[in-house]
């Protein structure tokens, strides 16, 4: 296809050379342009819809039914356009307005048949198949509006894909007659210079892992002798790894020359041959853009582009450096060594990337036009633009990669401290002990008690332990486990310590140290009791493990530090029905949190300090939730359930825990920052 799709040409690279006389019209034609003054943001959702589409199939339309328009020689010819157009100078943003969906509206001028005084059509081809596809795609999309008054972008139905088939002057006149043309303001024209999208879409089925026979392939037929000679020299130096094809001269009748390439009498099928090579040359011909590019991408062959100052299609959003090799034309002779120096893994990446670009952006007229509109949309609403990753990462990478929302390497200062959030129901005595213990931690900033018992009021203010930091009680409306992870406004620090009302054995040193570790890993769960998930080969499913293991993949939120951001994620962004499931079963909220954090950051939690009994040593086994047998079974079920909802097992297993630097060192205890670690 090779299409230089034309939208606000940046630099004259895209402008084909032609006679200066025509150039003027051409410029008028191709400066992408705009106008209108409607700034209301009141766009309504246009239910362009199923019913209407069924209508179309019933009505059989023909292009010949389109109304005839006679152009006369005296009709005005638009004046020369402004070559230095920029979005802020030639595009009328008021037409697009502010709208909550951040989506532009596109209008298509209805089809007309333009003829001159003598009744001759202005274009030799009229509406081409491709342009028809393109306009249908727009009309089927969310961008479409049938109301010219609400449109931000207007598209003429005059087909200018191939300007060679146009009568330039008459086309310019026809465009000028469009309602709201206004020197092309806010109009979008599509122009593809040579070639079109290939008509053999089904011909290629890319084999993924087959080794490719050739290293470099040149398949273009319209190469200038000068470059062909240079390629031949390269081949002479590097032998069989290179294949240089040319037009076939003696094909038998009835064989399309488009589908064949030849080399020294040997005939190759095109485009299939492209799949046989690792790299495929896309060399400057008469024009910069080359039809070969699209074929090459489709074949998953890495394009090697030698066309100085060629602006690659959609280069505003597509990162071609990840899919193609660009070599200056003058360095053609070094092509072989340059390509040889690329690591094999990168070649694989580029093949995948090339194939993805084709699949997503070049495969059909529909993909091309949707990409174009999306780019314009991104310019008009830059704050809602698609991200680099959305444009460039193939689905497999999107799936496997993680982009942590807390990506800045930052060690927050100690000063703000942390907020302890204690979830409690009615164990007052134990709760008060926990509060008293935590209050000794130097970095504690505030204590928040989440009172989950609706049937009972919290104790009188006077009965609470006297502590030096503010203590707030939040009463909940329902006894739900997820209440502990609600992003309460009362939590003013980044760091949250979630702690159960029966964890009384943690020393102040242990807690303070946990906070210090959290500061070094603010995007992780940093907690005390560690747990593990295991794959049970017999049962063929995940199993929960709380025994003494050498590995850990979860830390329980019965005592853990984490970023308040994860409260917000847990409450509002938890996938599937996990939140309800947890509340219904009154279990596994901590496992859910571990899944959530690992999934969004791709990182393992950090277990701090040695294993110890965290609850009161004298308590019996039946007391408290997490000890009975059915409970453990249920937790295994949780892991399996969550893994299904997440569609993957995000938990990461590690073999380390964090201790103070001088832990267990033979060193005076009083000189250690955290002497009281691990004691029972």
């Amino acid at each position: 296809m090779c299409a230089s799709v034309k939208y606000s040409a940046r630099g004259p690279a895209l402008i084909p050379r032609m006679k200066t006389k025509h150039r003027m019209y051409y410029i008028a034609l191709f400066s992408v342009v705009l106008l209108g003054l409607i700034a209301t943001g009141m766009f309504q959702f246009w239910p362009h819809s199923i019913e209407s589409s069924t209508d179309w199939s019933v009505d059989r339309h023909s292009v010949h039914d389109a109304p005839l328009v006679h152009l006369s020689a005296s009709d005005p010819i638009p004046e020369r356009g402004d070559l230095s157009c920029r979005m802020h100078t030639c595009f009328d943003v008021y037409r697009c307005g502010y709208n909550p969906k951040n989506r532009i509206k596109v209008y298509i001028h209805p089809l007309r048949r333009y003829v001159d005084d003598l009744g001759a059509p202005i274009s030799s081809t009229g509406l081409s198949r491709e342009y028809n596809e393109l306009l249908s795609a727009i009309s089927d999309s969310d961008f479409y509006t049938d109301d010219i008054n609400r449109a931000c972008l207007l598209i003429p139905s005059i087909d200018v894909l191939n300007q060679n088939s146009l009568r330039i002057r008459e086309t310019a006149q026809a465009l000028a007659q469009l309602p709201r043309w206004e020197r092309g303001m806010n109009h979008l024209l599509f122009n593809m210079l040579p070639g079109g999208p290939p008509d053999y879409n089904t011909a290629l089925d890319v084999p993924r892992d087959r080794p490719r026979k050739y290293f470099i392939l040149s398949s273009q037929i319209a190469l200038h002798m000068e470059y062909r000679t240079e390629l031949e020299t390269l081949k002479a130096e590097n032998g069989e790894a290179m294949l240089i094809l040319d037009k076939c001269t003696n094909l038998s009748e009835g064989v399309s020359s488009v589908r064949k390439r030849c080399c020294k009498g040997q005939v190759f099928d095109y485009p299939q041959i492209l799949q046989e090579s690792t790299f495929c040359v896309v060399l400057r011909g008469v024009r910069l853009g080359q039809a070969a590019l699209s074929d090459v991408l489709q074949a998953g062959c890495v394009p090697v582009i030698l066309a100085d100052s060629y602006i690659l299609p959609f280069s505003e959003v597509l990162d071609w450096k990840r899919a193609a090799v660009v070599i200056p034309e003058d360095n053609l002779s070094e092509m072989y060594s340059i390509l040889k120096s690329i690591p094999a893994k990168q070649v694989e990446e580029m093949q995948r990337q090339a194939r993805w670009f084709w699949e997503a952006y070049f495969r059909s007229m529909k993909n091309i036009v949707m990409t174009t509109l999306q780019i314009i949309n991104d310019r008009i609403y830059p704050y809602a633009a698609r991200s680099y990753e959305e444009w460039n990462d193939p689905p497999s990478v999107k799936w496997a990669s993680v982009n942590s929302p807390l990506f800045l390497p930052l060690i927050p200062p100690r000063a703000p401290g942390f907020t302890a959030v204690v979830l409690t129901y009615d164990r007052i005595e134990s709760l008060f002990r926990v509060i008293t213990e935590i209050s000794k931690v130097p970095s504690l900033c505030k204590l928040l008690v989440v009172w989950n018992n609706q049937n009972k009021d919290p104790p009188e203010e006077s009965q609470w332990p006297k502590i030096t930091v503010p203590l707030k009680v939040v009463r909940t409306t329902e006894n739900k486990l997820s209440n502990r992870f609600f992003p309460y406004d009362e939590i003013e620090t980044e760091a949250v310590l979630a702690i159960d009302d029966d964890i009384i054995m943690l020393t102040s040193d242990e807690l303070q140290f946990g906070y210090e570790v959290w500061r070094e890993f603010p995007d992780r769960l940093v907690g005390y009791p560690g747990r593990l998930h295991l794959w049970d080969h017999e049962m063929g499913k995940w199993k929960y493990e709380s025994e003494w293991t050498n590995e850990v993949s979860m830390v329980l939120t019965g005592a853990a530090f984490y970023h308040k951001y994860f409260n917000y994620l847990y409450t509002y962004k938890m996938p599937g029905d996990i939140k309800n499931w947890v509340d219904a079963h009154m279990n596994c909220e901590d496992i859910a949190m571990n899944f959530l954090v690992a999934n969004v950051t791709g990182k393992a939690p950090i277990k701090v300090t040695p294993r110890k009994k965290f609850k009161c040593p004298e308590c019996t086994a039946i007391d408290g939730l997490s000890l009975d047998q059915t409970h453990m079974v249920e937790r295994s079920e949780c892991i399996n359930k969550f893994a299904t909802v997440f569609g993957t097992m995000p938990l990461k297993v590690v073999e380390h825990r964090a201790d103070p630097v001088l832990y267990k060192d033979d060193f005076p205890e009083k000189l250690k920052s955290f002497p009281n670690i691990g004691s029972l």
């Binding site: 409607i38 209407s52 010949h64 920029r86 802020h88 100078t89 502010y98 081409s128 198949r129 249908s136 049938d146 070639g195 079109g196 008509d199 200038h224 470059y227 020359s257 011909g285 100052s309 990162d319 660009v326 120096s341 893994k345 990168q346 830059p382 704050y383 991200s387 460039n392 497999s396 990478v397 990669s401 942590s404 807390l406 800045l408 390497p409 930052l410 060690i411 200062p413 003013e492 980044e494 140290f513 070094e520 560690g530 003494w548 293991t549 050498n550 590995e551 409260n567 917000y568 393992a604 040695p610 990461k652 073999e655 380390h656 825990r657 964090a658 201790d659 103070p660 630097v661 832990y663």
Partner: protein
């Protein structure tokens, strides 16, 4: 010409006002229209019909195939013809830049010598010395591929105190011809894409190296600050750049949107004073700029006299997301930086929509934008040196297109300056992108043992070490770097090991050779060892499993710390037992092999020479480098403190660690390094990583790394 310009400005200002009024008025009209439109039936025009005709292709392939291309000019001639066309204002790399100069000796930059009596502003002097201090600098013009003027062309604003007089003035001062322009506050109209470089406007106090860190200390949730949107600056009553700022008061609400202007600037402001001036000025004085900057979610950066303003960098550093209102400003380094990830690009024409636009931005997005401001600030803007290096790297990337950075590298931590594309084209070969690509580092390591003493006895520590390391299940190969004056020992002197042992003679037998990026190293991880290091197989295994979780950091055993010695006003180095550490010495540490490349190719010759001459401090320098890149501390694993035989007793007399000067040198090194980096990159950590069951009261048989406890 001046009159013409003024006329144009007045006209465009007028036009803008008319537009604004029209826009304002239209709101009303549009709402009225709305109802009318509702009544009318939907436009009778159909959506695009589905034609049943058999349409032709717009350009049959056959037609294309039959064009005889050799009839035309040769592509080369054609290109040359274009080249002469694209000169001056239309310059591009291909037409105005001589690539052949760079092919010879790589990307080298020459600075023209300064003429006597030439006045150079402080900022420009900083730029020049940053270039001269960079690894691209050459003093030989015949080696150079890029030439930099020593004429001060920085400030062409005649009103500015920084303006350097005596340059023949016209537009930029002189005809730039085919020269590239690195210009602050450049307008898109005059910007030659992929040829000029847009740089940020920075003040004369901008530090030459190092630079302040960003102000963001925590990521609070919800991410909103006291103010939503603020601005405080001059209002120009007439002339360029007056209209946007003149209209700001429409949006100001004195609550969370605080946009303040003052008329009080220049000598004769009273003369042009308008009706709003007194009110504005009073409001202006009520607020403190710094306070607003640090307490606002968004900061408005409207054009002033120039397109760009100092506000931009100030907001960036303050983690106040810039809201750009400067149509046509080519943002700094726009060629490589994706500003949509760190700023809101507004349109001056839509000023009145700005409040609703910023309010519509989702919390998650704000959090990301804010962090990105900090990343960009620290990566490219915080010092003159960074700005200069970024400019040079952008140009270098253009010249060597096939070995250049992609957009991901530029826009993600640690940024383009620390990621050298010459190292590898594959992102997975760097330690920074595993998460972004969804891949893992390779699961094996290469051990590099630095040998300096001849092999005499079979009980030498190096042989024990060799055996212990080779037994690690993760060990791929061992490289012995022979930096000893004595000739290589015979092959049979080395013990038999399950993995290959390669002996390499160090280049010139200098210290830096231990950080050479040897081609024989193919694993991501390197275990760097001194010859007298004592480590068990278990310890090696454990350290490696930890490294796999932190592939961008140094993970190892010998921890050291730095501190600020306020009596001597310099950095101190300590090997005492402390509650924290900031370095892990490379005598027993694992890190990514990219750091070898970075050490060799990024650090200046002066520092590497210093290390070589002292035969000391290479490990400190490596720690400086890695922390400067990651902005994170290294990681110490397990309890082990004594990892040298020398520390345990007599033996090994030749060891450099026994030398009393050795320690003093290390202090000196610290300070030298800190001054080159312009800041102290080392960061303290208070924790070490132990095996999960380390010293837990459970049967030793249950423990995977039980040997670690026995030591």
């Amino acid at each position: 010409m001046q009159a013409k310009k003024r006329y144009f400005i007045v006209l465009s200002a007028g036009a803008c006002l008319v537009l604004l009024f029209y826009f304002g008025g239209l709101q009303v009209r549009a709402t009225r229209n709305q109802s009318r439109r509702e009544d009318r039936l939907r436009s009778p025009e159909q959506p695009w019909p589905h034609f049943s005709d058999n349409l032709q292709s717009f350009l049959p392939r056959e037609q294309l195939a039959n064009e005889d291309y050799n009839m035309h000019l040769s592509p080369r001639q054609k290109r040359d013809a274009n080249t002469s066309l694209y000169k001056g204002k239309k310059c591009r790399m291909e037409s105005c830049f001589d690539f052949s100069l760079c092919q010879r000796s790589g990307f080298k930059v020459y600075v023209y010598p300064q003429q006597k009596g030439e006045k150079i502003s402080e900022s420009y002097q900083n730029i020049l010395s940053a270039i001269e201090g960079s690894r691209f600098y050459t003093s030989d013009p015949s080696q150079a591929c890029l030439f930099v003027l020593s004429l001060d062309t920085l400030d062409r604003d005649q009103l500015s105190p920084q303006y350097v007089h005596n340059l023949k003035s016209k537009d930029l001062g002189f005809d730039i011809g085919q020269a590239m322009l690195a210009k602050a506050s450049i307008g898109a109209e005059n910007f030659r894409p992929h040829f000029d470089v847009s740089i940020p406007l920075f003040s004369k106090d901008h530090p030459r190296t190092g630079g302040e860190r960003g102000f963001l200390k925590y990521n609070t949730i919800p991410p909103f600050r006291k103010y939503m949107l603020v601005f405080k600056g001059k209002r120009y009553l007439t002339g360029i750049g007056s209209d946007t700022r003149n209209a700001l008061y429409h949006v100001h609400n004195a609550e969370d949107v605080v946009l303040l202007t003052t008329c009080k600037h220049g000598k004769d402001w009273q003369k042009h004073k308008d009706g709003r001036c007194d009110k504005d000025n009073a409001e202006y004085d009520k607020y403190d700029y710094r306070e607003m900057l640090h307490n606002s979610t968004f900061c408005l950066v409207p054009r002033g006299r120039r397109l760009g303003s100092f506000r931009f960098l100030e907001a960036l550093q303050a983690a106040c997301v810039p809201v750009m209102l400067s149509n046509g400003w080519e943002l700094p380094f726009s060629e490589v930086i994706d500003w949509n990830t760190a700023a809101v690009i507004g349109d001056e024409r839509l000023l009145l929509q700005i409040p609703s636009t910023v309010r519509s931005i989702h919390q998650d997005k704000i959090l990301a934008l804010r962090q990105q401001t900090q990343f960009l600030w620290e990566a490219y803007f915080s010092s003159v040196e960074k700005i200069v290096l970024t400019t040079l790297e952008i140009i270098q990337d253009r010249i060597f297109k096939h070995i250049s950075r992609n957009s991901l590298i530029w826009n993600r931590h640690p940024g383009g300056l620390f990621v050298l594309p010459q190292y590898s084209a594959y992102l997975g070969d760097f330690p920074f992108y595993f998460a972004a690509l969804g891949v893992k580092p390779s699961s094996r390591f290469t051990a590099v043992i630095h040998a300096v003493t001849p092999l005499i006895s079979q009980s030498q520590p190096i042989l024990k070490l060799l055996v212990a390391v080779s037994k690690s299940q993760y060990c791929a190969q061992i490289i012995v770097l022979w930096n000893c004056d004595k000739p290589l020992p015979a092959k049979h002197r080395w013990p038999a090991t399950p993995v290959p042992v390669v002996v390499i003679e160090g280049e010139n037998k200098v210290m830096s050779s231990r950080f050479q990026p040897y081609d024989t190293i193919v694993t991501d991880a390197i275990l760097s060892l001194d010859e007298d290091t004592v480590l068990s197989t278990t310890e090696v295994d454990f350290a490696f499993t930890v490294w796999q979780s932190f592939p961008e950091r140094i993970v190892g055993y010998p921890a050291r710390s730095h501190f600020w010695d306020s009596n001597k006003e310099r950095w101190g180095y300590t090997s005492k037992w402390t509650n924290d550490y900031s370095m892990v010495l490379t005598g027993a540490a694992i890190y990514h092999r990219y750091y070898h490349y970075l050490y060799t190719n990024y650090l200046p010759v002066s520092l590497k020479n210093m290390v070589d001459q002292l035969a000391n401090c290479e490990d400190i320098l490596m720690n400086f480098l890695v922390s400067a890149v990651t902005k994170l501390p290294p990681i110490k694993v397990t309890q082990k403190k004594q990892y040298k035989e020398t520390m345990m007793g007599q033996s090994s007399r030749a060891s450099r660690w026994a030398d009393p000067d050795h320690f003093a040198q290390r202090q000196t090194c610290m300070n030298k390094f800190a001054s080159w980096f312009g800041t102290m990159p080392l960061i303290h950590s208070q924790m070490r990583l132990d095996p999960i069951l380390f010293k837990d009261q459970v049967s030793i048989l249950r423990k995977k790394y039980r040997d670690i406890e026995r030591l």
